[in-house]
Amino acid sequence: MSSNSAHSEEAHEHPTWSTYKWIALWLTLITVVEVWAYYIPAFVASNYFVPALLIMSAVKFTVVVMYYMHLKYDHALFRKLFVGPLIIAIATFFALMFVFRKMFQ
């Protein structure tokens, strides 16, 4: 995967089949772990369940965006166009959870 980052200037340069294959494998693996965790009652009851699931899903999210949507290799402009709105969306999400007393209270 790292060998490709050298070409970050080229919009059409992107990883190859083997990278894609590994990414798909990782995505599947994380999904399996997520579902597995869901079926462990003791873990579900613990304080680690929600953070663990959120982290796993955030990793999947990031991997798809960075590699499949090739934001990692593409023009920086696209990163700004996506990350800016995403930050506002996430901040608004947390603010809404806060005002509806779903978190922090």
């Binding site: 402009l77 969306a89 608004t92 809404l96 005002v99 509806f100």
Partner: protein
């Protein structure tokens, strides 16, 4: 055909006239003019609604309209002014000006641009026409649910509102993607972001506010639509729904929306003030950053509209703080405008009068806004006429004054003729006095406890004088608007011929003929500073401004030439410039889409089979037109 003399009367070339040419146009300038005329028409509609309301409230216990009619009037006045007047008037300038200011020949997606306009027109008619039969929306421009659910608002009224706003949202969103792309990708060589004219900058910020705020109200409206049509329970309190869900979602959209309304006007006066002070804009960079800051912070203050609902001390405090914070970048802008005028050779032409009017009036509205940011103070003012005074000072005194300033300033570019200066001055003073006479007394009637949205009131509460003043002020505003329209239509035909650059202005749009030829720039200019035309004609004014040239690759890629004035008027064909084909397909796509979404009102009127069949037919027609559009070549 070619008109070489710079000051000859403007003529429209033959192929550019006739109804068909307007229906099928994809030229950003003509679409801008369509937006302008349509929005001015709706300004009359919204103004008449206000006049009827003020007549009803002139004295206690009048019966000019019924309570139900009054509800429809204030709902449609607000909805019209926000969605059908101020936003589209701004859109008229986005369309007309952005490509000219950045040195482009059109917008990125000319046909999508036409689509946006037609959706706006049809959607505007859809939401406006019901008032002719007194079945117009009647739940306020904010449409608070559960009040607007079927149980409490059984008629068609709110159906028109929900569906109409959905339609108008699509128009704004489509336009926003278009302008974001245009501004990012179609600037002339050398025009870096920090060299863009301030109007383009503020418009750029506004497009991001649109793409981030409108999806939220879209979803809130979808919930309401589903509740009303399909029996979902989003706003059903008995089913456990939260009565604040709508309010939160609406204001997550609603507060950025007020910046969507005001920032374009800020941009316009930021063009006018330097120009009539003959000085570069003071603190350009800070103006840009404060515009971005206002836009960004605008997403974190929404609940200041809801202090009265009891969110708790922590939420109240946080939203109060962010609201106070947002006054800083706004204040910075006010001071920068004042410093722009400071020491300048000020010329009080009509655009300048309205621009200075904006600074003064917006400051009053801004200060009463800061008063609301404090929850204890807000609790005294909320839902009273004090709030009505506040937002009319920012929206009428701010946005509308700024837009009038822009109309007087850019009228010569749009039509080739100047507006009459004497009538402009009369319009300004009548408008200025009328607006203060209308809205300043509302501070008092509000503080004396007069609630908003009541259709009448009893004598003896100390409100009579202030209401009489407000009503008289409204009549004065009617007169002032008539003066404006008279000036507008008279000057269009017989105004003084303007030439390229009647104001000695600094930016690209003034370097080409008025009205501009359909290709705008025969040769794309290379931009080397923020004030390219002053560099050419008044270099002494731009000595203190940063200059540098564009990269060779950029210049050759765009076939650009050094900054110059264009006075020759030739056709695109003669110049060998490819122009997009006119096409009616966006109009049809828009029409079928509006009919499809609007057709939802049939749900309660016709049998289910008819309803479904109609919707499917319209959807098929829409998709068909869309494919026909997408598969036909652009140019």
């Amino acid at each position: 055909m070619a008109t070489t003399a710079a000051h000859a009367a403007p003529v429209a070339s033959e192929e550019n006239t006739g109804l068909w040419s307007w229906l099928s146009t994809v030229d950003h300038k003509r679409i801008g003019i369509l937006y302008l005329y349509t929005a001015l028409f709706f300004l009359v509609v919204g103004g008449l609604e206000a006049t009827v309301m003020r007549t009803q409230l002139m004295k206690p216990n009048l019966t000019v309209v019924t309570a139900e009619q009054f509800n429809q009037l204030f709902t449609m006045h607000g909805t019209t002014m926000v969605f059908l007047v101020i936003m589209p008037l701004s859109a008229a300038f986005f369309n007309f000006l952005i490509p000219l200011q950045i040195g482009a020949r059109d917008v990125a997606f000319p046909r999508l641009n036409a689509f946006s306009y037609w959706v706006y027109l049809f959607g505007g008619l859809f939401i406006t026409l019901p008032i002719l039969g007194w079945i117009a929306p009647n739940g306020g421009w904010f449409g608070y649910a559960p009040l607007t659910t079927r149980a409490y608002a059984p008629g068609l009224n709110i159906d028109f509102w929900v569906l109409g706003l959905q339609i108008l949202g699509i128009s704004s969103l489509a336009a926003a993607f278009n302008f974001i792309t245009t501004i990012i990708n179609m600037r002339a060589p050398g025009m870096t972001l920090m060299r863009m004219p301030m109007f383009t900058w503020m418009s750029f910020v506004v497009q991001f506010l649109v793409i981030l705020a409108f999806p939220v109200i879209t979803i809130a409206l979808v919930f309401l639509q589903f509740d009303r049509f399909f029996g979902t329970q989003f706003y059903e309190i008995a089913a456990g729904a939260d009565p604040l869900l709508w309010q939160h979602l609406f204001w997550v959209f609603g507060h950025p929306e007020v910046y969507i309304l005001i920032l374009p006007a800020f941009g316009l006066v930021s063009e006018v003030l330097p120009n009539f002070s003959k000085k570069p804009l003071f603190g350009y960079n800070v103006m840009v950053y404060s515009g971005i800051m206002i836009g960004f912070l605008g997403f974190g203050v929404w609940a200041h509209h809801m202090f009265a609902v009891g969110m708790g001390a922590v939420a109240d405090t946080l939203f109060s703080l962010t609201t106070m914070l947002i006054a800083i970048p706004t204040g910075v802008k006010i001071f920068n405008w004042i410093f722009t005028m400071w020491g300048g050779q000020i010329r009080f032409a009509s655009p300048m009068k309205f621009a200075i009017g904006l600074i003064a009036m917006f400051t009053i509205g801004g200060i009463s806004g800061v008063m609301h940011s404090s929850p204890p103070s807000d609790l005294q003012q909320t839902d009273t006429y004090f709030v009505v005074a506040h937002f009319h000072y920012v929206l009428f005194g701010g946005a509308i004054m700024g837009i009038f300033s822009g109309i007087y300033f850019y009228f010569p570019k749009m039509t080739g003729r100047l507006m009459d200066e004497g009538l402009g001055t009369l319009h300004f003073w009548l408008n200025f006095i009328g607006l203060n006479l209308t809205f300043f007394p509302m501070h008092f009637s509000g503080m004396l406890g007069m609630p908003r949205r009541i259709y009448t009131y009893d004598a003896g509460q100390g409100w009579e004088l202030f209401n009489m003043m407000s009503t008289m002020g409204t009549y004065l505003l009617v007169v002032s608007t008539l003066v404006f329209f008279y000036n507008f239509f008279k000057s269009r035909v017989s105004g003084q011929v303007a030439g390229n650059d009647p104001w000695e202005a600094p930016t690209l749009e003034w370097s080409i003929p008025s009205p501009p030829p359909d290709y705008n720039f025969a040769q794309i200019p290379v931009v080397t500073s923020r004030y390219p035309l002053w560099d050419l004609k008044h270099p002494e004014k731009t000595a203190g401004v940063d200059h540098s040239s564009a990269s060779i690759e950029e210049v050759t890629g765009a076939h650009a030439v050094p900054m110059h004035e264009e006075t020759e008027r030739r056709t695109a064909k003669e110049l060998g410039l490819p122009m997009p084909f006119p096409t009616i397909k966006p109009l049809f796509t828009a029409l079928f889409m509006v009919l499809m979404i609007g057709g939802m009102v049939l749900k309660t009127l016709t049998p289910l089979s008819v309803f479904v069949a109609t919707l499917i037919t319209l959807a098929a027609l829409m998709v068909g037109s869309l494919y026909a559009w997408l598969t036909s070549p652009l140019e």
